[in-house]
Every structure is written in structure tokens, then in C-alpha cells.
Symmetry: C2
Subunit: 205 residues, 2 copies
DNA sequence: CGTCATTTTAACCAAATGGTTAACAAAAGT
DNA sequence: ACTTTTGTTAACCATTTGGTTAAAATGACG
């Protein structure tokens, strides 16, 4: 290609395949051959486009992490009333993750596998979350008497838990409670409003 | 040994080592050599006590699953007022998982890796959860007017999420929010009472 | 066309890994 | 004591796996 043709087809194919396999099997479980097969190409071609497994993984992981974390960080920095912040976060985050329901488990998993890699690659400079502002906002609302005396950190953890956990536990919910794809989507759709309602009911003075 | 001596030292050593390695690296990531090293024995001895990796894994996984699930099921079947049920569950479950903080991620992970294995081995006969009773109890409380009109399934999911998720996200919380082991323990200790308070504040009429 | 860079492939390689074998040590049973 | 069973080890094997090589297509461009 002279400069940059429109058809990155092969590289794109690889990235799509790699994402699928990595998210499904994790860094250790993923096999280069599987990715090659999934992309419909030769295994050597993988190393032609991406030097090695680690490099390829990094691209996929970074893309996943950079999709999940900035949205969380938004609620820390946004200039919005607390309740509205909570409502928008739950709605937007569930919408976001709905497109890739297995991303959270994948990311959590890899952080668990190598916390320092995560710290160095993802957290370095880029969108470093500053919870302080959000926590301070909660303290402020407590002072003005709009919400009860709840510990800010727990409120934050509660919101994140209720929003993210169902995705992490998705296979269990499906196998255990006999939830099919359709039902899962419906329940998560409900949770966009159920979680904020649940939280606000709990903390409003 | 004549019948069953008191020193199952070797087998116990293996199980301790296997648990450590499997929970840390998962089924695919775990290496038999690592387990052998961790147990301070020869690799062949592993296969002497446990036929193969899968068999050894099964023992570890089943033990983990059978530690985590029955407690959840308890809240479905227990004969207790709703609020008390919630309080006791959060307290007991956090206490339980605190002893093995990485078990939830491990189990969730393996269910994700092979949902049918989980369904067949763990869910088969043994302690099959019946959420119906718990959900019915919530409906009943709604009818008597002690709690608001919340969807039972969401209440259940909320409680499980807030209780379990922090353990799944533990490495992230530690690396991100700069939480050390001591702080994590303290926060989880608080959550034993914070979560029930949060829930009850939200749903009590 | 012919040349040069880019893309793609088949064959290959070294290391890692799950698992086996056969021999050896230590008890247990007699 | 000696025979048998149980526990343990070093060496080995077959397969898998990430990665390389060299050659063949493919295409850009004069």
C-alpha cells in the first residue's frame, strides 16, 4: 500500500479475532493458532503484523481498558448534581458494557494476573481516576443535608458493584437462574433505572 | 497405611499447593510443575495422587464452589424475617470469603470458561439453589407493606453484587485506589453492616 | 514487461508442558 | 528375615505452543 489504504482488512480481521479469543480465553488461555484460525489466516501472518503474543495482547487489553475506565472516571470529574450523576452513570455504563458483556471479567482477570502490568500500562498518565472530587461531592451533599450520612467510599463501591457485577457473573446467572440472553438483556435494561432508584431511595435524606 | 493414618501430609500438601496455584493462575494458567514445586515434591508424585490435571482441578474447584454456593442458598431457604436475613447474609458471607478473598474471581472465571462443566459437576443434585422462596418472601413483605415496591430479582442481585464484587475487584481497588491489605480488610469489615443498612434504608416503606 | 516492496504461506524449531516408565526407598505384613 | 505394598524420584516421551525462516504470491510503478 502506498500510504494507508482504506482496507486494513487483514489487520482488522486479526484484531477482531484476537479480541474474541483473548476475551474468551484470557491471556494465558488464548492460543495464537486459534486467533489465526478465527481470522482465517496463517499463524505466521500474525507475527508479521504483531511481533508476538504479548504485543497483540497489549493492543487488545489497552483497548478494552480504555473503553471501560474513562467512563468511570467521568463521574468523578463531571459537573453535575449527585443524583443526576448516579443516574447517568448507571445508564451510560450499562449501555456501554452491553456491547461487550465479557469485557469486565476479562479486564478484572488480567489485572488479577499481573497487577503491575496494569498499573504501568493502563494507569500510566492516561485518565488516572481521581475519586477525591466525587467523594468530596458526597461529603458536600451530606453537609447540605440532601443525603444521609453514608460513607462516600461505600456509596461508590455500591454503585460500581451493582452496575458491573452482573456482567462478571453473567455466565453464572444464565446457568444457575436459567436466564437466557434475551432475559439477561431485559434485566440489565431495567437496571439502568433500578440501580439509581435503589441508591437514591437509600441515601436521600 | 493400614486404614487411614493421621498424616495425610503429602496429599494435604498437594491440595494446599494446588489450591494456591489454581486460584492464582486458573485452570489453563496453572502448571503442574508449579504445583509440584509449591508442594515441595516431584511432579510424578502429583500424578500418583491425582490421575491428571483435570482430576486435581476438579477437587479444588468443587471445594471452592461448595464453600461459596451453599451459603448463598441459605438465604433462600432460611426461616427468618427479610431484614434479618439480609443482615446475616452480608455478615456471614463477607466473613466466609475473607478467608479466601480470591475464590469468587476464581469460580466465576471457571464458570465462564466452561459453563457446562459447572452445571454438570457443581449444580448436579447438590444444593441446587431455589431462589423462588426468597423472591416469594420479598413479594410477601411488599404485600404487607413493610417494604417498597422493588423487583425481587433486582434486590437479590443488588445484595449479591455489593457483597461479592469488591472481592472480584480487589486487585483493582488495591492498585487503583491505592488500598493496602489492611485498608481492604477494614473496608470489608465495615461493609458487613454498611450493605444491610444501605439496602434496608432503600427498601423499607 | 520487469523490478521492487509488501503480503502470505508452508515447513520448521526450540522450549514448555502434561503425562509415563522404571527403578528405588520405606513401611507394613507375614 | 523377606515379601508385598505404598511412596518417591529421575529420566524420558509425545504433544502443544510461541515463534522463525525462506520461499512464493501479490501488487505497485517505472
Amino acid at each position: 500500500m502506498t500510504k494507508k489504504q482504506k482496507d486494513k482488512t487483514t489487520e482488522e480481521q486479526i484484531l477482531i479475532a484476537a479480541k474474541k479469543v483473548f476475551v474468551r480465553d484470557g491471556m494465558t488461555g488464548a492460543r495464537m493458532q486459534d486467533i489465526a484460525d478465527e481470522a482465517g489466516i496463517n499463524k505466521a501472518l500474525l507475527h508479521y503484523y504483531f511481533k508476538n503474543k504479548e504485543k497483540l495482547f497489549e493492543v487488545i487489553f489497552m483497548e478494552a481498558a480504555n473503553r471501560l475506565f474513562p467512563k468511570i472516571n467521568e463521574i468523578f470529574t463531571a459537573e453535575l448534581p449527585l443524583f443526576e450523576k448516579i443516574e447517568r452513570f448507571c445508564d451510560e455504563y450499562i449501555t456501554l458494557v452491553m456491547e461487550n458483556p465479557y469485557l469486565p471479567l476479562f479486564v478484572l482477570n488480567e489485572i488479577h494476573r499481573d497487577p503491575n502490568y496494569f498499573l504501568g500500562k493502563v494507569w500510566k498518565g492516561k485518565s488516572t481516576p481521581k475519586p477525591e472530587k466525587f467523594l468530596a461531592q458526597i461529603e458536600a451533599e451530606k453537609a447540605t443535608g440532601t443525603i444521609k450520612d453514608i460513607h462516600p467510599l461505600h456509596l461508590l463501591m455500591n454503585m460500581l458493584s451493582m452496575t458491573i457485577f452482573p456482567f462478571v457473573a453473567k455466565p453464572m446467572l444464565q446457568k444457575n437462574m436459567g436466564m437466557n440472553e434475551q432475559q439477561f438483556r431485559m434485566v440489565m435494561e431495567q437496571r439502568k433505572t433500578e440501580i439509581p432508584r435503589f441508591i437514591i431511595d437509600s441515601i436521600k435524606a
